[in-house]
């Protein structure tokens, strides 16, 4: 499929990784996975996904560090990143959004059935920002 969108999921819990990747694959996305911060960072650069789903508590490098690194790198700064974590304190959410996350979802509060919709929305917003329609 020519316009199949690529999603990279950076998540160290294999149970959740399978659930999220299966759900997005069933919805027609091309899914790639990483189970550590370092691996995830490398895959964003290599694979240039259309969107990254990023956990916070990860081995090696945490999600906020990864997000910060992605937003500093001219090659990756425009890739939309949606945080998907169980850290749901107001201060955590603020940190994520201040660092440039497109959205911040708390796993236990969020319904997985809405995941494809959220992913599509942010890919569309990003696409519109990249290719504005001139009047």
């Amino acid at each position: 499929m020519a316009d199949q969108k690529k999603i990279l999921i950076i998540e160290d819990d294999k149970f959740l990784l399978k659930l999220y990747s299966d759900k997005l694959s069933r919805e027609g996305f091309l899914v790639s996975m990483a189970i550590s911060g370092e691996e995830g960072l490398g895959k964003v650069k290599q694979e240039k996904p259309d969107l990254v789903l990023l956990d916070v508590i990860l081995p090696q490098k945490n999600g906020f560090d990864i997000l910060g690194a992605l937003k500093l790198d001219p090659e990756t700064k425009d890739v939309p990143v949606v945080m998907l974590t169980n850290l749901g304190q107001e201060s955590d959410i603020k940190t994520g959004l201040d660092l440039g996350a497109a959205d911040y979802l708390v796993k236990t509060d969020f319904s997985i059935t809405k995941l494809p919709e959220v992913v599509r929305k942010h890919i569309a917003i990003h696409g519109a920002a990249k290719n504005p329609i001139s009047s």
Binding site: K23, E90, K107, I112
Partner: protein
């Protein structure tokens, strides 16, 4: 080598730390269980029978309750450790109360309880953490409905009282016994009449609500007559 004898404070601190760690660890598998049940219920993996749907919905309800309990345990740990964080912004308490009432109207109907709200017009805003105050209001209104017996009435009101915004929630429920009145805001405390009516509560809701209101610069209190009903109120300063 066995630990040295811990002081009462050290023991409490250790319990709080362990509770916090275990609660965080439980959230990840619970998120997985909840998501699996949601996928099955959505029909994503094929059609399910009415009976299967009923059982899966019960399991989802159970996992949501566990998630709620874990959140309360984490909130209580943060309160005990002095780590509760509030992010204040100008907030319309009346609008928050209206949202809670709208969200709980179906629950009230299912409990044969009439739920209504009275809002004073043009209420000034208060500088509070809207998410946390929403949690307090939800907790008070939910309790009022939950502890109703027979055909009950719950009236929520928000008005100005001098330099404060005053929230109240009056019910015609089971009320609080004289012997329980000084313990009602204690951590894990549940009065015997409440436990008999709803055995599955944690006894953390009012403890957390009190901490949130007081940290926001307000006061929380109640008046109650056993067998007749209770009115829980809180005030927050207008800034």
């Amino acid at each position: 080598m066995p630990d040295k004898q811990l002081t009462r404070e050290e023991t409490t601190q250790r319990i709080t730390e362990v509770t916090s760690v275990i609660s965080h660890q439980l959230k990840t598998p619970l998120a997985g269980i909840k998501s699996s049940l949601e996928i099955l219920l959505s029909g994503d993996l094929g059609e399910i029978s009415v009976k299967q749907r009923e059982y899966l919905a019960l399991a989802l309800d159970g996992s949501n309750k566990m998630i709620g309990l874990i959140k309360n345990l984490l909130d209580a740990s943060r309160i005990d450790e002095g780590r509760m964080q509030l992010t204040s912004a100008p907030t319309d308490i009346g609008a928050l109360a209206k949202t809670v009432v709208d969200d709980l109207i179906t629950f009230a109907q299912a409990k044969n309880t009439t739920l209504s709200i009275t809002l004073e017009e043009n209420l000034p805003k208060t500088s509070v953490d809207a998410v946390k105050i929403h949690e307090v209001i939800s907790n008070l209104v939910y309790n009022a409905i939950r502890y109703s017996k027979g055909k009950g009435t719950v009236v929520v009101a928000v008005r100005r009282d001098g330099h404060d915004i005053l929230f109240s929630c009056a019910d015609t429920g089971i009320g609080i016994g004289e012997g329980d009145k000084n313990k009602i805001f204690s951590k894990f405390y549940r009065s015997p009449n409440v436990s008999a009516l709803a055995p599955d509560g944690s006894g953390l809701g009012l403890y957390i609500s009190k901490a949130i209101v007081e940290k926001s610069g307000g006061k929380i209190w109640f008046e109650s007559v056993e067998g007749k009903g209770s009115t829980f109120s809180f005030s927050l300063p207008i800034q």
